[in-house]
């Protein structure tokens, strides 16, 4: 009797799993029409990292999985979505790799903390994970771009009276442990509270434990769009974050290539399309394409 019951449980579980698998069908392809370059390897000089990657037919890209609108992975799909991801797809396509094929482009989750080590030890080839360009980071990894400029703002409950940083002096404000945002929270006279992910912070704002969370406006907009009517973004930007593409210092030639692809994407309108299709969905106007930093001489 017991044996039969166990079997029934297995059967039910299997059924539930197969039903869940059905949900995966109908993969979306993202807002930008990405054209995969043909014979991509030949456009790069012999011995460059780009040529190596194109010939190997695979690239590993580190993105965030928990930032709606920037880098977000739905558990049901294989490919993350968001602005960072769209830019990453353009880079991959330029290498002649199909970004919608996970055997060619491998998406790897990076968190704020492990981006430099992942680049240094080759776990990922590129990082597009709301990666602010800073001097300290440029000392250990390469950062090309910026492909977006954003600033830190506040995310509060929609019915909150908080309008700016002044209303939150000495109060607890949530952000992610180990991010630049948490440091700025302290510098602005608020008390930093650090969680592992932005989603946990948003949870804490929703249940009223903290009055606000703070990080790059682009990240907050994603949450505001996800919880429409419950959360909203307020206040002026009180910092400037220049979001760039991370690459390994071992391959300085990648910088010029990344900048070229970014410039091209701006001219072809794909950059704007990527923004409108992701962050723009929350009703934000598409900003100007930022000026790229010149690449360091190698």
């Amino acid at each position: 009797m017991r044996f039969i019951r166990t079997k029934a449980v297995f059967a039910a579980t299997a059924l539930a799993l197969s039903l869940a698998a059905c949900g995966e069908a109908g993969e979306e392809e993202g807002p930008v029409d990405v054209e995969v370059e043909e014979n991509a390897a030949e456009q790069f000089e012999e011995g460059t990292r780009m040529r190596e990657l194109a010939e190997a037919g695979g690239v590993k890209i580190g993105v965030k999985y928990d930032q709606p609108g920037l880098g977000f992975k739905d558990p049901a799909s294989d490919i993350p979505t968001g602005f960072d991801v769209e830019i990453a797809k353009l880079l991959a396509a330029d290498l002649g790799l199909d970004p919608n094929d996970t055997s060619q482009v491998e998406w790897i989750e990076t968190i704020s903390d492990n981006r430099e080590p992942f680049l240094q030890d080759g776990t990922v080839d590129l990082v597009l994970a709301s990666y602010s360009i800073t001097e300290e980071r440029r000392a250990v990894v390469g950062q090309a771009g910026p492909y977006m400029v954003t600033g830190q703002q506040l995310l509060v409950k929609s019915d909150s009276d908080v309008e700016s940083v002044d209303d939150l002096q000495g109060k607890e404000v949530c952000s992610v442990t180990g991010s630049t945002s948490l440091e700025n929270v302290e510098a602005q006279g608020m008390k930093p509270v650090g969680f592992d992910t932005y989603s946990e912070c948003a949870e804490k704002v929703l249940d009223g434990t903290v009055e606000a969370m703070s990080t790059d406006g682009t990240i907050l907009m994603g949450y505001a769009a996800q919880n429409e009517g419950e959360l909203s973004v307020v206040g002026e930007e009180f910092s400037e974050e220049r979001i760039g593409v991370g690459y390994s210092k071992d391959y300085p030639e990648m910088c010029q290539w990344i900048n070229d692809v970014l410039t091209e994407s701006n001219e072809s309108g794909q950059w704007a399309e990527a923004f409108e299709g992701t962050l723009g969905a929350s009703g934000v106007e598409t900003p100007e394409f930022p000026e790229l930093d010149p690449c360091p001489e190698s």
Binding site: S112, D113, E116, P117, T134, E136, R137, A139, V140, V141, E172, C174, T177, G178, S179, T180, L182, E183, K191, P192, V193, G194, F195, D196, E200, E203, K204, D207, G208, T209
Partner: protein, 229 residues
């Protein structure tokens, strides 16, 4: 390393949170653990089973899950459990809902290990001791508090010290749950000074080693002092 030296007050404050998390949850977990072990070895079957079930369930739950429960779940079930009523500020240190939830999680978790360490101590007390105590007319509470537990504590100093050292290191879980203690501060440093990762890592590892050494030194002293039983 320079980053650590330049902002040494931030490091001290972070380790202050670590030490306080340890001290407060240490006291609570020893108290709760003593209560649990008394229930566990006591004559009332219901309490006995209740303590056994509690220890089995909580000891087998990962600490992170307990933290998540008190940080994200419990407040939704029962409003008081979001700990927003805690709002204490001493100097530059703040003790709010995040600190409280961390203390509660750590105490409830560590109490199980304290109870089991103490139970091994209780088992080491010869049965004749408890019988003699009962023979002179002590009730169960008297038997435990006057005769059995004092001897049990002496016998279980080494396992208790291990449990408390584990607690000290477990405080780092709070880094992911809103408390700016040593592990969280280390993350902030490594993020801002990506070029000094090794120095920062070594500095914070040293900090933990010093704290653990203090605890084990204290344990050794106690063990020596209590040797003549």
């Amino acid at each position: 390393m320079e980053a650590v030296l330049d902002q040494f007050d931030a490091v001290l404050k972070a380790f202050g949170y670590t030490a306080l998390l340890f001290a407060v949850s240490g006291v609570f977990s020893v108290l709760l653990g003593t209560l649990l072990v008394s229930m566990r070895v006591g004559p009332i079957a219901v309490l006995n089973r209740a303590a056994a079930v509690y220890i089995t369930v909580v000891r087998n739950t990962p600490l992170v899950m307990i933290f998540m429960f008190f940080q994200l779940g419990a407040g939704k079930v029962w409003n008081l459990l979001n700990f927003q009523w805690v709002d204490i500020h001493i100097g530059t240190l703040d003790f709010t809902s995040f600190f409280t939830a961390a203390v509660v999680s750590l105490s409830l978790y560590t109490a199980c290990f304290v109870a089991e360490a103490l139970r091994s101590g209780v088992n080491a007390v010869p049965l004749g001791q408890a019988e003699a105590a009962r023979a002179i007319g002590l009730p169960f509470s008297g038997v435990m508090s006057q005769v059995v537990l004092p001897q049990a504590f002496r016998a279980s100093v080494p396992p208790l010290a291990s449990t408390l050292i584990a607690l000290l290191k477990n405080t780092s879980v709070a880094a992911a749950f809103g408390v700016l203690e040593a592990a969280a501060q280390m993350k902030i440093f490594t993020n801002n000074h990506a070029d000094q990762r090794w120095g920062i890592f070594i500095a914070f590892a040293l900090g933990y080693i010093i704290l653990v050494e203090v605890v084990s030194l204290f344990a050794t002293l106690l063990e020596r002092r209590w040797r003549i039983a």
